[in-house]
Amino acid sequence: MKKVMIILAVVALAITAFGKINVLYMAQAGYQPSDMEQMGALFTELTGIDVEFTFVKYDEMHDKIITSSAVPFGTYDVVLLDLIWTAELGEKQLVTPLDSYITKQMREDIAPAIWDAFTYKGQTWAMPFLANFQLFFYNKAILKEAGYNHAPKTLEEMVEMMKAIKAKGILKYPWSDSWNQKEGLVCEYVWLTGAFGGDLFNENGEPVFNQGAGLKALEFMVMLLDEGLANPNSLNMDEPMAKDDFIARNVAFNTNWTFQYGFLNDPSVSNVVGEAEMGLIPVSESVYDPEKYYTATVSGFQGLAIPRNSGNKNEAWKFIRFVTSPIVQQAYLKEMPVWKSVQDNPWVRTVDPVMDIKAQEIAASHHRPKVAQYQEVSSILQRYIHLALEGKMSPKEALDEAVVRIDKVMK
């Protein structure tokens, strides 16, 4: 029996060692599948290592990583790792620490906040790849119809604009967003909490979102629905649907990940060509400071990790090093490069007219809690925030209940 197992293991390793790697990546926000396939094709041409991609929706990524990590011989050699999974996957040692691969020069050319997203218990578990964060999108033509010639600086100003747009019959619902009961809802809640000057957890890792900024954020979301300013269908929308609603000219404002920018002026899909702009997410006037605190966003940093049970770690690292390299990121400026040298490159600033906005926005990132039990924490938050949005609980009741359940999980 032992001999049979050894022979099977050798055969499996031989098959996997045949100059081919399997990459698990998302087909949602961030780099689109066509971009990744282009990068993969060039990598294959340069190195002779074949790359096979599996694209899944973001919400399926975590479960696929867990199930493929639980077996001795993994399915994937490279996986996309969201920063919210760093603590869990690091704690369970399901991915390989990359510290031995990362050079001093690489460390210095990426902002500490981005490295921090993938560091847990002193080790780095993924190579930064996607400096994803949310931005503000508005339709300047609709604003002009309503009598405004600038983007709102505060949330209160935005509400005033929305009321004017609605009152003039320009749009029924000036706002929609990805408020379905999924991870995207937590992201929306995080930036809104940031827009009221706070975070979900305090420095001691304790949930504080049921008071102060967190409570105001949820009350704001409920108010938008109650006053008919937010489309009720937002409660069923994910980020691609929110993008579709914006480019269909159904709304005047939304927030979304950087990927939405690439669709605004695509005449094959967009009804807002030449009308839509990307800007900084406004904050509440209670915290607004034009020099120090004028925007807030949520980080969606993603890295590339090597599962512990991969049989092609060296090939996997070569692929990761290639796609995350400054030269490749410079070629794919539809997403924010992670490298400071690329962000500050004068040529890049000329080619990407919104790089300055992106640089300001990313500097105002608020993070989701980095805890090993994040999946449960997020599920609880999603459930109770959604119940409040449905009107089944008041914001205070919902958040209080969420804190009680999260405390139980964290013990």
Partner: protein, 295 residues
Amino acid sequence: MLLPALAIVFLVIVFPICMAFYLSFTESTVTGTGIKGDFIGLKNYIELLKDDLFWESLRITLYFTVVSLLVEMVMGTLMALVLNKQFWGVKMLRSLVLLPWAVPTVVNARMWQWIFIGSDYGAFNKLFVKMGLIQNPIVWLSDKVPFEGIPIIGSFFEWIGATRALNMIILGDTWKTVPLVTLLLLAGLQTVPDSYYEAAAIDGAGKWKSFWSITVPMLKPVIVVVLVLRTMELFRVFDIIYIIMGYKINVLSILTFQEGLVYTHLGKGSALSFMIGLIILLISMFYINALKEKT
């Protein structure tokens, strides 16, 4: 001679079930070096029985199962009765009726997701607005319940989780599965001799009386098979709900998936799986006892 077959049965069925059953008595999770856990006895089962979320999930699953079964049995019977008649084109119609059943489950779910989109570009909204049936797009997958706001009845629908979203999913799911029920009932109908109906007609029985006195008793064995089969599948529903609503509609399978794979609480996930299995077994035994012939 039997050893290879027994070995396969053991490896593929017996061993995984025993392993999962053992896991249900542990607090286990996935780590880089394999599954690690501690034996905790019945704690998982007790915690589940005390968890409000489990009971809510059970209610929603029961509602989904009962309503879907009702729709499938009524529609399936009506369609089987029609297809049992002889008329021009009945053979072609019998083949066409099977088409929805041939659609893969994931494709069916995605298709209905697009049909139900609450914006003006969703198929239902576009069609109904064009036909003048509605003026504004409807959010088909909303959390509103029938008779919302009305005391007792509204609260009841809220309590069993009968949201508009779930009712729409029932529509999408039964669209696909009614052909299977129709086919099984049609096969049963074809074993009922015409002479029984002729004799009943001679004795003065009308169509309704013939249906209840002849058709239904003769179809009992088939009905038991359909009920047991469909109850098992409906109780375990996962794909269509997960694809359209994610974790929003928390039926038992979704809860199991979340506990076992998302939170990696393998023990609790296993315990939930066995509880689902036990409930299905009890329901099946109830059917068989209720519908068996009295000798």
